[in-house]
Subunit: 327 residues, 2 copies
Amino acid sequence: MKTPAPRETILSLFRQTPDGFVSGERISDELGVSRTAVWKHIRNLRQAGYQIEAIPSRGYQLQQSPDVLMPEAIQSGLECQLVGSRIISLDEADSTNLQACRLGDEGADDGLVVIADRQSSGKGRMGRQWESPGGVNLYASILLRPPVLPFEAPKLTFLSAVAVCRAIKNCTGLQPTVKWPNDILLNGAKVAGLLNEMSSETDQVHYVVLGIGVNLNMRAEQFPDDLRYPATSLAIASGKAVSRLAFTRSLLQELDALYQVYLEEGSAPIFTAWTELCELTGKRVQVDCNNLLIEGKMVGLGGDGALLVRTSAGKIESIYAGDVLPL
Amino acid sequence: MKTPAPRETILSLFRQTPDGFVSGERISDELGVSRTAVWKHIRNLRQAGYQIEAIPSRGYQLQQSPDVLMPEAIQSGLECQLVGSRIISLDEADSTNLQACRLGDEGADDGLVVIADRQSSGKGRMGRQWESPGGVNLYASILLRPPVLPFEAPKLTFLSAVAVCRAIKNCTGLQPTVKWPNDILLNGAKVAGLLNEMSSETDQVHYVVLGIGVNLNMRAEQFPDDLRYPATSLAIASGKAVSRLAFTRSLLQELDALYQVYLEEGSAPIFTAWTELCELTGKRVQVDCNNLLIEGKMVGLGGDGALLVRTSAGKIESIYAGDVLPL
């Protein structure tokens, strides 16, 4: 058996005492190290975000743990059949999608989840940047190996969107909306973004990575000035901090449940749920398709995931890429 | 400037003399090394496949160069607009597709070609093995970044197929046929296979890798016993050895020309060419689609690359994955 790290041993000692007090002597005995070494470990824990007070004659007291996303904490009691079969939680990643793709190339199992506290090169659609400060948000990538043809896989973007909306509703009571193809909005401002990537051969999907970035507790001053769209976070929109752990667990469970539906019934129920979450459904829209402007009424999603717009001439246009705005 | 390797210097000396004779003294002077060192370099060149004779009082004579695929030799005078913009030629690769995908992930330019003399883990479709002995065949992967949506990209398999058929015709005079989705046949036996892979996000292709394996000079005894289908090589079918260099150059030029057509006119002309190369066009076929058997007349390719089969009930079935056999 692997010996636990000193940090894990100390945290475990705190958890075992009802009042959270542990004497320095006790820690020193358990670890078999000097009191000076104990003090250094406590200092390291404080630097990692643990609020630990030293009360003379009683010892150390753990008053608050940081909202860290440890795999064991996420997985404990998680009700998932597949998603989260393995969870990797990193302090920092270039991008969780890149990490998940690398692991996918190396043969990682279906259901793997990669989470990072912060991203140094967070990716949005079309090579855009995704602002990814540490300690406040969720950056997660889920690796799936769906037994479908490559042209089916992009439809999973809508699955991510519905799962994120449900997790937001579960954790805040707020009802988000979706914006085609891959944004989640609260009060018209972007609160989450999706970036699905795929590796495939002609008639087989190697893997799909569902990349999900959700602004949880990000503060207004943490957003860059030059954002293309107004942005928000769950904390800004709801007025209170959201537990990253609770949100992550809720999201993985919603993703897992929807993926089981997808595997059994296909994308139709997902598309129905997405269309109901889309504020523009039934409204007049203008779509900028690479400088070709299409105007009409948004009627929903086609079987292939295209945005369907009925023009004034009565023709239904299928749109596969573009920016949609209300008219 | 980089100093050329001794080997390159010696080969360059041979090329500069009309009769191919170079004295050991001359080589020794040029390289600034002893006659013993020169002799060792000559021995290494012989081991690499160069036929070099030592004639007393005249020196060394290069009588024949091995059929190696050096980037400079392939590129010299190559008539391509994009394909082969950069060529990497490896003695061995796990798989040229894997190498090209890795380079694609790192941002390699459109048109990159990766060639390997042999592959240690040559890949066929659906994770099958592709027999890849050294010195006799062509294993090449072409990286393209087509400005199309992900569901368009699998159509490029047909482009590879047509290009391989044309290169075979150019170099041997033999007329191959194509088998849906990705095989090239000579006299009913498999002579080449294609494995296209893609990395994409929902509405953007990162890159496509066209993997091409062609059995050029492989001998009958080099094929494994347990092949799923009868296999052949250009040398077996034509009765004479094929220059790997000439074939590679022809293939890259055909690929480049067809890719220009694809970018300008779309896949329709490629599909027409492919359908004409397919022996089963207009014939009765049976398609095994994951244990669902479909019988009917093969009528061609749909706009999305599906195999179109007209059943006896008159219905046209679009087939996206399966094994096709004549009835």
